[in-house]
């Protein structure tokens, strides 16, 4: 985890906006990236994350705002004067150059002697584990190998900043998770400030030091993966990072009670919610317990009687989709460890009681 205080701000994005006529793609983005940090821009397609990356690289121009990199104002600098390396989703490897030539492409343009180029290229090939493939053309390499060539090429000029635009999305699951670790390792080894764009929350959570969740052109929340998961500040973030059940109801501030249909839930008093009556209750599936076989049910709080609509096997856990009899169209998800389901012989159509853990309940402002 990164210590924010005292860390060196390597990249400052100040009030960046991008619009085409009336349509805003990005609106007033503020963001600081620290030296050596691995930052993920995460969001659904169309949220502006790729545009932000391209503005940082200079491939696209912001309408407003400034960018400062390593103490230099680069807002209007052309791409080739900025200090970064980039890997595209498609890799964009030059098909008529072999792996080695692709990596050396940027070096050859600098006034470096051939031996030095050779040495650096070989180092990079070793770094990404492709020493044996230096003479292969991109079409002769597998997807993962191509990805590694693209990564090595992006790092060839030892840039201060590495930009990755959905670098893993074209790969199959196994290669992807392997490469995640490799990229992360290389990044840490070189202490290379890195910004990665992705729409895959697992990828973001597993790789990033900090994640920037973006929604419709603005930043929804910035934080470490843990912070985002544990303390999402909007229902969007809550549901985009992991899974969150959201129930719409009324909040009685005085008594710390939330009313959902005919049910009332006690809310932990640790947090002060400032907003008014109408709001959303959020609870993650794993924070709901099944209490079917417990006695003294009457004494327990935050109980709902529901009907099992669907059972999905997810390996170590089952995800149950349950509904209230009074509101059949609203699904509530409950994660239960597998043997509990098996031992209790839960079936679709069964009625069960579930309990929402009081201390895990969060309330969100309803934007409706």
């Amino acid at each position: 985890m990164i210590k924010k205080e005292g860390s060196f701000k390597y990249l400052e994005i100040k009030n960046i906006s991008k619009n085409f006529g009336e349509t805003f793609v990005l609106k007033n983005i503020h963001l600081d990236v620290f030296k050596g940090e691995f930052l993920c821009l995460l969001g659904p397609s169309g949220c502006g994350k790729t545009t932000l990356l391209r503005i940082i690289s200079g491939l696209e121009r912001q309408t407003n705002g400034d960018i400062v990199q390593d103490g230099l104002l680069i807002s209007n600098s052309p791409t080739e004067k900025r200090d970064f390396g980039i890997v595209f989703q498609s890799y964009a490897l030059f098909p008529n150059l072999n792996a080695k030539q692709n990596i050396a492409y940027g070096l050859e343009n600098k006034k470096i002697n051939k031996k030095e180029i050779e040495k650096r290229t070989n180092n990079l090939l070793r770094l990404v584990g492709l020493e044996k493939y230096s003479d292969q053309f991109p079409s002769q390499l597998s997807g993962g190998q191509q990805q590694r060539v693209a990564l090595a090429r992006a790092m060839a000029l030892s840039p201060g900043l590495l930009l990755l635009d959905e670098p893993l999305s074209a790969l199959d699951a196994q290669v992807r998770s392997k490469l995640r670790n490799e990229i992360k390792l290389i990044q840490k080894k070189l202490n290379l400030t890195t910004i990665m764009v992705t729409h895959d929350q697992t990828e973001a959570l597993s790789m990033a030091d900090r994640v920037v969740v973006m929604e419709r052109g603005h930043i929804a929340q910035i934080g470490t993966p843990f912070e985002l998961y544990e303390n999402p500040i909007t229902p969007f973030v809550a549901d985009f990072i992991g899974k969150m059940n959201l129930l719409k109801g009324k909040y009685d501030k005085k008594n710390c009670v939330f009313y959902y249909l005919n049910n009332r839930f006690l809310i932990s008093q640790n947090t002060e919610y400032s907003f008014l009556e109408n709001c959303l209750l959020g609870i993650r599936p794993e924070d709901i317990e099944i209490i079917k076989f417990r006695k003294n049910i009457e004494k327990e709080e935050n109980i709902l009687r529901v009907k099992i609509k669907e059972i999905t096997y997810l390996g170590t856990i089952f995800r149950l989709t349950v509904v209230l009899e009074s509101k059949l169209e609203e699904n509530i998800f409950v994660d239960v460890i597998s043997n509990q389901v098996i031992s209790n012989n839960l079936k679709i159509g069964d009625f069960i009681d579930i309990k929402l853990k009081k201390e895990k309940i969060k309330l969100f402002e309803s934007n409706l």
Binding site: S57, G58, L59, V68, G71, L72, L73, N76, S77, P78, T79, E80, K81, F84, G85, I86, F88, S90, A92, F94, P95, N96, L97, Y105, G106, N109, K110, F137, P138, S139, Q140, L141, S142, R153, A154, A156, L157
Partner: protein, 579 residues
């Protein structure tokens, strides 16, 4: 406060802007500005007095001239239909079937494009004319058959000869871009061959089809060579221009008719452009090329079809060769080679031939460089969007300009020693006038005359090359021109070669644009063919045509050889891993 390093100005972007503006100026001066005097002429009488729309009104009120307009439309529509149909079947046979002798059919597919239009007419007359082989039934051995060559029929046949290879070029490349997986998917759904054709093949090539419709329509609408020779009394707009300008020196009316000629061409252009806007790429970079399967019935039908087409083309060519060897057709059929010694007839022995070969080489080299570079600047970059769009528009115009009109407007523009500035008593030297009277003007006229087809083909290829290559290069601090030389050109080499050979063969046969332009010291063979034929030396004209055809064929063989080598090399870049 931050350091504000003074690196906001990028040399590369500046260079790029300068290049785009430079190309814009060139394209304007070579395509648009020469047309302006012509445009003005259409509003004035022959003494250069401004008379407004009078010429246009006179034209519409003259029933014989409006008849020509309708005739031109008829010719264009019929030609387009048959050219695209034949071009499509031939292209289909080359790309989607196991046609026997495919290499042979491929090499000779553009054969009819190598024959100068006048020679096509000579050949057609020898076969279908009143004394033609077929009309007379091979000297009376079999019953003859008269197709009434002179007039509509003759024009259509001649135009198809010229247009169908153009459609073929476009459709072959369209049909080559296919995805085997789509057909496999359709097969697994038990789709009938017809259904596969209608739902996969046709939609995939609709853009190519549209383009070939467009190009055939305009070429046949504006061509004048064929109607002049076999048109008989069937008047078309292009021959009307000839009558006005050459027969009566009525430039104003000639200019007026040219404007009318431009109208449908520009309409067709706009329709095509609009269509293009809706074009989405159906084929992704990861497509698997289609591999045709054996189908005895289809393959043999295709074989018969392609053979028939080639037999007709080679038949016409053979009769030209025959014409060059025969003493007096059809009365004294003794053979001799003396017609290949051009010393005692029109046009300075072999000099025009070599002039033409060099002119064509220059056109191929400079034209290919210019066209490809223009397409590259238009297609690959972001700055100066409006100017790039204008360059694109200008580049697609030349196809709508008939060669005759281009030639005349080039005289009017390039032979002007200076421009006068309006309202000021001031003259600016016209630097382009230095080209007049040199080979340069011929090369330039050819480059522009055939610009559009080459430009479209270059653009299509560049579109298929990942735009991110430029962005990656920028991020690697490699200037765009290095990437152009090291990546873009090698990847486009097959297309570049094709553009070069297209320029070459067209320059070998072209007459209409350069007949007004060729300088006294540089006679060219396509013009001397016209002159020899005029002087009654049909045999010599045929002999010269034979030489031209053989030269183009030779260049085509070099092209085939080179491009085969190139594609062997580049296959390793393009074809996916075979495992």
């Amino acid at each position: 406060m931050y350091f504000k390093k003074n690196f906001n100005k990028s040399f590369n972007i500046l260079l790029l802007r300068i290049l785009i503006i430079f190309v814009f100026i060139l394209v304007s001066f070579f395509i648009i500005i020469p047309l302006l005097p012509l445009f003005l002429k259409s509003f004035s009488d022959n003494k250069n007095n401004f008379i407004g729309l009078e010429n246009f009104i006179n034209y519409i009120q003259n029933p014989s001239l409006t008849q020509s307009f309708i005739n031109s439309l008829k010719v264009a529509i019929t030609t387009t239909f048959f050219s695209v149909l034949i071009g499509f079947i031939y292209a289909y046979a080359l790309t989607r079937t196991r046609l026997p002798l495919k290499k042979f059919f491929n090499t000779f597919s553009l054969f009819s494009l190598y024959i100068p239009p006048l020679a096509v007419a000579i050949g057609l007359i020898y076969i279908f004319g009143k004394q033609g082989l077929i009309t007379q039934g091979f000297f009376g051995t079999i019953p003859g058959f008269d197709i009434n060559l002179y007039g509509f029929n003759g024009i259509i046949i001649g135009e198809i000869f010229y247009c169908f290879p153009q459609a073929l070029i476009i459709l072959v490349s369209a049909l080559n871009l296919s995805d085997q997986r789509l057909y496999e998917a359709a097969e697994s759904l038990k789709a009938s061959p017809l259904r596969k054709f209608l739902t996969i093949t046709l939609p995939n090539i609709k853009y190519g089809l549209m383009n070939s419709f467009f190009i055939c329509f305009i070429l046949s609408f504006t061509d004048f060579g064929v109607p002049k020779v076999v048109g008989g009394n069937f008047n078309v707009l292009a021959t009307d221009i000839y009558k006005q300008v050459v027969g009566q020196q009525n430039f104003a009316m000639g200019a007026t008719i040219s404007i009318y000629l431009l109208v449908p061409s520009i309409l067709a252009f706009l329709i095509d452009k609009n269509f293009q806007k809706n074009e989405a790429s159906l084929i992704s970079g990861k497509s698997i090329p289609f591999k045709p399967r054996k189908n005895l019935i289809v393959d043999s039908i295709m074989f018969i079809f392609c053979s028939l087409i080639l037999i007709l083309v080679i038949g016409v060519f053979s009769s030209i060769v025959l014409a060059s060897l025969i003493k007096i057709w059809p009365y004294d059929i003794s053979l001799s080679l003396q017609n290949f010694r051009f010393s005692n007839v029109a046009g300075n022995g072999y000099e025009p031939y070599f002039n033409t070969v060099f002119m064509s080489i220059y056109t191929a080299i400079f034209g290919t460089i210019f066209v490809f570079f223009t397409a590259y600047l238009v297609e690959k970059f972001k700055p100066l969007k409006k100017i790039r769009m204008l360059i694109y528009f200008f580049s697609t115009l030349p196809i709508a300009i008939p060669g005759l009109v281009l030639g005349l407007s080039y005289i009017l523009f390039f032979n002007k020693p200076s421009f006068s500035v309006p309202f000021l008593d001031f003259q600016i030297f016209n630097p382009f006038s230095l080209l007049y009277g040199t080979m340069g003007i011929l090369v330039l006229a050819n480059i522009i005359h055939f610009f559009t087809v080459c430009f479209i083909s270059a653009t299509t290829t560049l579109k298929q090359i990942d735009k991110e290559f430029e962005e990656v290069s920028e991020s690697l601090k490699v200037p765009f021109y290095k990437t152009f030389l090291r990546i873009t050109i090698p990847l486009s080499l097959p297309t570049i070669l094709e553009i070069g050979s297209y320029y070459f063969v067209n320059s070998m046969i072209t007459v209409s644009a350069i007949i007004f332009l060729y300088p006294a010291k540089i006679p060219v063979s396509s013009v001397s063919i016209v002159n020899m034929d005029d002087a009654g030396d049909t045999a010599s004209a045929a002999a010269m045509s034979t030489l031209i055809v053989l030269t183009s064929l030779f260049v085509r063989l070099i092209y085939e050889f080179t491009s085969r080598n190139v594609s062997k090399k580049s296959s390793v870049w393009i074809n996916p891993l075979e495992t």
